[in-house]
């Protein structure tokens, strides 16, 4: 048996097809979900993909957070369904308060696209179990508003509770506080990060590495063994 993993398409989502491809390459079944539809089609997990939903107008993720589909995603995430937010998806998760903090414009004020070195800080979430804690990986990064911020108290709490999932290594591409690239909720079922694991799943394409595939194999194993 395999697992069904939903990928939501918002108006302006860009990496929805890429994410579906990554899910398939990992051996799971991708299921397309539509932002206007509250029905999650009985998927076992959901990915909110990258892009510029609603053109990033108002504030990245601020409008999508109110989509009908998000009502169900928020409800299910709170009762334990695994949810991964990539880039714009991460922004939506913070806007929806499933994850703390938020994203501001990159400190250098430019869009940045690069193959980014990361350290896996927490290899125990639903989406990172196939990594080793402390493992260094390269995952493509591409964003305009990627600077993770939160108040000092929240940052301290995230670190104390081991909820920083990924940190930028060697180079902080956007001015994120404490080099934070991705975080998880307390339960470890909701993870958000700015880099794009779905762009690092085939040796020939994109960055030419497969460092992103464990995201999708992690969740598959968790769901199938559950």
């Amino acid at each position: 048996m395999t697992a069904r993993i939903g990928v939501v398409t918002f108006p302006g989502s860009l990496d929805d097809r890429d994410t579906q491809r990554a899910i398939k390459l990992a051996g799971a079944e991708p299921v397309a979900l539509w932002h206007k539809d509250k029905d999650l089609k009985q998927v076992d997990a959901v990915v909110l993909p990258g892009g510029f939903s609603y053109g990033d107008y108002l504030r990245a993720g601020a409008i999508s957070r109110f989509s009908p589909v998000m009502e169900t995603v928020i409800e299910q995430a709170k009762s334990g369904m695994p949810v991964l937010g990539i880039c714009n998806g991460f922004q939506i998760l913070t806007e929806a308060h499933l994850l703390p903090g938020g994203m501001l414009g990159n400190d250098h004020l430019h869009f940045i696209c690069r193959d980014q070195k990361l350290r896996v800080e927490n290899a125990e979430t639903s989406w990172t179990a196939d990594y080793e804690s402390g493992q260094e990986i390269h995952i493509p990064l591409k964003n305009m508003d990627g600077r993770y911020v939160a108040d000092e108290h929240t940052l301290d709490m995230l670190e104390a509770e081991g909820r920083v999932a990924f940190r930028y290594v060697d180079f902080n591409p956007n001015g994120s506080l404490r080099d934070i690239a991705g975080i998880t909720n307390e339960a470890g079922n909701v993870v958000g990060l700015m880099p794009h694991p779905e762009h690092a799943v085939e040796p020939l394409i994109g960055s030419g590495r497969t460092d992103g595939l464990p995201f999708f194999t992690s969740i598959l194993k968790k769901l199938v063994n559950a």
Partner: protein
């Protein structure tokens, strides 16, 4: 408040003596008289608006048409061409049932006035051309040219242009995989912002811009129409147009990439359900262009009710609605029974869609406003029968002196130390330096099919996940070469793009071009233009790569001074399996470096002559297209048979530039030996065409040499991939760290 009566066709017939502002709208007296002759009466204000924008240089190609015909007349026999010049973009067969459409266009003038929006809407426009052919856009490329890198205005224009391209393209989800960035003082007041796009479809999905089938509905969808981008707004100020209206707004359009992304998705969904008979995007000349072209390419006429056009500004006059260039709009022709489903899809994507007219039995384009008929024309006369000029042209008198000022006589480095210094000077010069500060502002990962992106020799996209079928694209142009010799300069641009595609392992198939020149009213510029086209058409014939379409941008000049003639050539290629692609980077120590082709003392127009001597004179490198073809065949065979691990074409900056780039990208150095018969300076800096370097595993050396020997391509072993420095034996050694600082530091220091 009194109101002038609506200028209907009837009113126009009754009031033959009313003076219309044809001169302010940019028409010449004889052109206006021709309109009157065609109609048999004076045009209405709305008709005049349509003729004036459609007969403009930009839309009618009136100065360039007589020369552009050569692309058709000299077109090589090609089985690959599915749709040629004249449609929104050409379409090429790439095998396995796939067709690829691609095109390059200019957005030069707007990008100087308003860099961000000018460049952004350039991307938007070319992408709509691609969608209008029925294809899903899969990549963009951006050949850019700016004034001197250290000029203060370049710091205004370049960051805006780059942010605009990124802001629009990134938001559309299109990987940016190639292009160029060139600096030259000649572009100071006239930056060249060219934008190219590629789209992929199945053969059966090709759509054309024509309105056929009486009773079929004409649907306008996308953004509302506003007062932005009305061609040369002030020309409308006249007694029939009110001064206080919004048409005074700047003529540069404002882009909304989010709206365009929705437009892409909803258009492709409508295509997939076979709901569309004909389609046209709204770009230059807006509705005037879309309605007249759709109608004139179809079998019938068309009736449009302009009152039904959704407006952003309710005070717009019918003339302004017809001329508005508001972005992110498309026009589709749909059979009546499929209209509901079409509108449903638009609604799903939150795209506004409105039936504004229908195809009729007749052969007239009729447009109504407030119940009155304000346009009644034969659409062909608007769209296709514009004026054609045989502009005078003459070889400028300074051409001889320019060519006599031989760059080969410039002082060359006298010592090894000087040679080394000039290498550093070259690789750190703005034109030769790394452009990663710019390209890192573009998403090249999105869609998950990017095999190669800049700084590779060509961008490459996988189009079939199962078979690995892919396409490659390269754009090149060299204004310096073309200034020295327009005929051969254009051929060198073609040869370089062709070579770049082949270097990555793809077979060149077809050409698109963007011809950037000065004023056609200057006979010297017109001569450059005529020569460049002749060179390009002859070159395409010889290489067997047809021109599928393109764009002409004239009047790129400030006062009397024109830019260097700059034909930018895009070559599209196909590769059966992207796993066979050849990248630029040196990756394996011990691999052998070979130089393919002949190296001559050729420094006219070279990067070396510009960087070291600030010189432009002499003749550009010789062109040998048969040699280019042979070189391409060797590179493609070697890639297919797995004989080479890296390859880099040699062009501006010569061999040393290519070696440094390959070494830095792979993080592996090289030891070079100057071959017999060449001096070190010529070996390193010559820009002879028809050359490439390759890195070969030792196990493949014999086989590769045999292949080149059998086919008569000169090859020379020049060194080995090794260590962490670039060494030219007996001359100098430069550590990669020093080269990296020199090569990668320049652009951020100037612009960041």
């Amino acid at each position: 408040m009194s109101r002038t009566p609506l200028d209907t066709v009837e009113h126009a017939a009754e009031t033959p003596d009313v003076e219309l502002p044809w001169a302010e709208l940019g028409l010449k007296k004889d052109e206006y008289e021709r309109v009157v002759e065609i109609l048999g009466r004076r045009p209405t204000g709305a008709e005049l608006a349509m003729y004036s924008v459609m007969w403009s240089e930009h839309c009618s190609y009136k100065s360039s048409k007589v020369h552009l015909r050569q692309f058709g007349e000299k077109a090589p026999q090609s089985d690959a061409l599915l749709v040629g010049i004249g449609e929104n973009a050409g379409v090429v067969d790439v095998g396995q049932g796939y067709a690829v459409t691609f095109k390059v266009e200019s957005h030069n003038h707007p990008s100087y006035v308003e860099p961000y929006q000018g460049a952004a809407t350039g991307v938007g426009g070319i992408v709509r051309d691609i969608i209008a052919m029925g294809a899903r856009p899969v990549a963009v490329v951006d050949p850019l040219r700016f004034g001197a890198a250290d000029h203060p205005d370049t710091k205004r224009v370049l960051p805006g242009v780059v942010a605009g391209i990124g802001g629009y393209g990134n938001c559309l989800g299109l990987p940016n995989i190639g292009g160029e960035v060139v600096f030259d003082a000649c572009y100071q007041g006239n930056p060249l912002v060219n934008a190219g796009a590629i789209g992929v479809m199945r053969h059966e999905d090709i759509h054309l811009a024509k309105a056929s089938g009486s009773g079929n509905k004409v649907i306008l969808y996308g953004a509302r129409t506003g007062g932005d981008g009305i061609g040369g707004a002030s020309i409308l100020a006249s007694e029939t147009f009110d001064d206080a209206k919004p048409s005074k707004r700047p003529a540069v359009q404002v882009g909304d990439p989010f709206q365009e992304k929705l437009l892409i998705e909803c258009t492709l969904e409508a295509f997939a359900e076979k709901l569309v008979v004909g389609i046209q995007d709204l770009g230059a000349a807006g509705l005037s262009c879309a309605t007249s072209e759709l109608a004139s390419n179809g079998s019938g006429g068309m009736r449009v009710t302009l009152d039904d056009v959704p407006l952003r500004d309710s005070t717009l006059s019918p003339e302004e609605i017809l001329m508005s260039e508001s972005q992110e709009r498309m026009c589709a022709v749909v059979e009546p029974e499929k209209v509901d489903r079409f509108l449903e899809i638009c609604d799903k994507w939150d795209v506004i869609a409105t039936v504004i007219g229908e195809v009729t039995d007749g052969d007239r384009l009729e447009i109504y406003w407030h119940g009155g008929k304000i346009v009644d024309v034969d659409p062909r006369t608007v769209a296709h029968d514009g004026p054609v000029y045989e502009r005078p042209y003459a070889r400028p008198e300074w051409q001889d002196a320019l060519q006599a000022d031989d760059a080969n006589k410039l002082a060359r480095p006298a010592t090894s130390e000087e040679l080394k210094d000039q290498v550093l000077q070259l690789v750190s010069s703005p034109n030769q330096a790394s452009k990663s500060w710019i390209t890192s502002q573009y998403d090249h990962f999105v869609q998950g099919n990017t095999v190669l992106a800049q700084p590779e020799d060509s961008g490459m996209i996988r189009i079939d996940e199962e078979s690995g079928l892919g396409v490659a694209i390269a754009t090149d142009g060299n204004g310096r070469y073309t200034k020295l010799d327009p005929y051969h300069g254009a051929q060198l641009a073609l040869a370089e793009a062709y070579r770049n595609v082949a270097t990555t392992g793809a077979k060149p198939l077809a050409v698109s071009d963007c011809l950037n020149f000065g004023s056609p009213e200057d006979p010297a510029v017109m001569w450059q233009f005529a020569e460049a086209i002749r060179g390009l058409a002859d070159g395409c014939l010889q290489l067997g790569t047809p021109v599928t379409g393109g764009n002409v941008s004239l009047y790129n000049q400030t006062g009397e001074v024109a830019i260097h003639p700059t034909p930018v050539v895009a070559v599209l290629g196909v590769i059966d399996d992207v796993a066979r692609r050849t990248p630029v980077a040196f990756k394996e120590e011990g691999q052998l470096l070979y130089l393919l082709g002949d190296t001559r003392e050729e420094f006219g127009g070279s990067a070396w002559s510009q960087v070291v001597h600030d010189h432009l004179g002499g003749l550009p490198p010789q062109v040998d297209l048969e040699r280019e073809r042979l070189l391409a065949e060797i590179l493609i065979s070697a890639s297919r048979d797995g004989m080479i691990d890296a390859a880099h074409d040699l062009s501006d900056g010569g061999l040393i530039q290519a070696v440094v780039e390959s070494a830095l990208l792979g993080g592996k150095g090289a030891r070079l030996v100057v071959p017999d018969g060449l001096d070190a300076f010529t070996f390193l800096f010559s820009e002879s065409a028809g050359r490439a370097i390759v890195a070969i595993p030792r196990s493949e050396e014999l086989r590769f040499n045999d292949m080149c020997g059998a086919r008569g391509l000169p090859v020379t072993r020049i060194g080995v991939v090794d260590g962490d420095e670039v060494e030219v034996q007996g001359e100098f050694t430069l550590p990669l760290t020093e080269l990296r600082t020199a090569h990668e530091g320049t652009i951020p220091a100037l612009l960041a």
